[in-house]
Symmetry: D2
Subunit: 132 residues, 4 copies
C-alpha cells in the first residue's frame, strides 16, 4: 500500500474554510502518481505505449478538513478485471486517525497510439497486481 | 432542468490535452450554483441558516473533451430522501450532442450554526423538489 | 477592448472567503482566450504554427472579491514591441464599478515547431494591433 | 532561506504539456506557507489578530517545466518597508539547476478584526526580518 502526505494550505480551502470537493480529486491523483512511480518507470510505460484513463470516480466525503490538517492518502489496486481495474484510496487525518474521504477510482488501460482500450491480459494483470 | 454552458480553455486541460478529472467537479459545482440561484435567493438561505454539504460524488467519464469544446451541463434534483438528496448532472458537447460525463451528487442539508445534519422535513422537501 | 463576465462561486474562494490569488490568473487567461477568439480563428493560428507564451505577469490586487461578486474582465493589447507584446487587463466588480485587480501580461510569439521566439514583424504586429 | 520541493504531475500541466501559469502561483503560495511555519506558530499569529494580504505579484516565466520535473522553490523576505514587505521567490529544476521562474510577492499586514492595513512597527519588522 502506497502512502502520500499532504498538508492543507489556505489555497486548498473554499468558502466554508474546508478543502473543496474538486481539490480532493487532485490529492487522489497526486497519490496515484506517487504509487505508480514507486514501482514503475513512467518512461518505460510511455515507451510501451500504455496509458491509463479514469472512467469512474466514486468518492465519499466523510469529514471536512481545514487549514493545517495533515492528510495521509493511501492507495492500492483492489480489483483487476478483464477490461478495467480499481484503485481504492482513503484520506485520513494523520494525527487524529479520522477518515476524511474514501474513493474508488476505476480506470482502463489504453494503447496511446490507437487510443483504444486494451484487454487486461496476463502481462498487464501482473503489472497491476503489484499495487495490491 | 437547469443548463450551464462552459467553453473549454487551455488552462482546463491536462497532459493529454483533455479536461482534467478534477476540473469536471468544478464544472459540476458551477452548474449547481447556477441551478440554485435560478430559483432561490442565496441570501435567504443563509439567513435561514441552511447549508448544503456534498457527501458523495459518483462520476462517469465517458469521452474526453479538448480545447474549444462547448460543454453543456444540465442539472436537476432527481431524488429527495429523508436525510439526503441527489443531483443528477450530465455534461454533453453542445455541438455534437455526445455525452462527455454523467454524475450523481448526493448532499445533506445542515444547520450552519450547529453544523448538524437536518432531517428533510416537508418544507425542505418542497424546496428541493422545485429543482426536479 | 474585449470584455468577459465571471461570477464568483464558492470554489473560487480561499480561507478568507475571497477569490484566491492564483484563481485570478485563470480569470485573466479566460478573458484572453475570449479576446483572441473574437477576432482570430484559433485553428488558423495553429495552422500557421504560431503560439503565444506568457513571459511575465505583473498583477496588483486592489480589493477582495467574495461570493456572488460579478467580475468584468477587460483586455486589450496595450504595447507591441519588436520581441514581445503586453496585454493590459483589469477586473472590476460590475455592479459597484470598483477595481478589484489590474494586470500587465507580457508574451512572446513562438514558432510551435522550432519552439523559438519569433521577431514581431510587420504581419504579426498588424495582427496584434487589432486587439488595441 | 526556506526551500520546498514540488514534483510536477499530470494535473499541473496545460495543453502544451507545461505547468500552467496560474498553477505556479499555487506553488509559490505553498512555499510561503512552508516558510512561515518553519519559524512562526500560525495559531499565535491568529491570536494576535494578524493577517497577511498579497497586494502585488510580479512573476517572470523563464523556462517551461514538464511532467516529472522536480521543482525547488526558495523563499525569503527581501524587503521590509514601512507599509509593505516583499518575498523573493525562485523556482528551479532541482536536477538541472535551471531557473524556471522568479517572483516578487509584495504583501501588507492587516489587523484581521478591522481589516485595516497595519504600519510595520519595530515589533512586526523584527518578525518579518527573521525570514531574510
Amino acid at each position: 500500500m502506497s502512502s502520500t502526505i499532504i498538508k492543507v494550505r489556505g489555497y486548498h480551502l473554499d468558502l466554508y474554510g474546508h478543502v473543496n470537493n474538486a481539490r480532493y480529486l487532485e490529492f487522489l491523483e497526486e497519490a496515484r502518481w506517487a504509487m505508480i512511480e514507486e514501482k514503475i518507470d513512467l518512461g518505460e510505460l510511455k515507451e510501451r505505449g500504455i496509458g491509463m484513463v479514469v472512467v469512474n470516480i466514486n468518492i465519499d466525503y466523510k469529514l471536512p478538513a481545514g487549514l493545517g490538517a495533515v492528510l495521509q492518502v493511501t492507495s492500492r489496486i483492489s480489483r483487476v478485471g478483464s477490461k478495467s481495474a480499481t484503485v481504492e484510496q482513503s484520506i485520513t487525518e494523520k494525527r487524529t486517525g479520522q477518515l476524511i474521504a474514501g474513493a474508488l477510482v476505476t480506470f482502463v488501460v489504453i494503447d496511446i497510439n490507437s487510443q483504444k482500450v486494451k484487454t487486461l491480459d496476463e502481462s498487464l494483470r501482473k503489472l497491476l497486481q503489484m499495487f495490491n
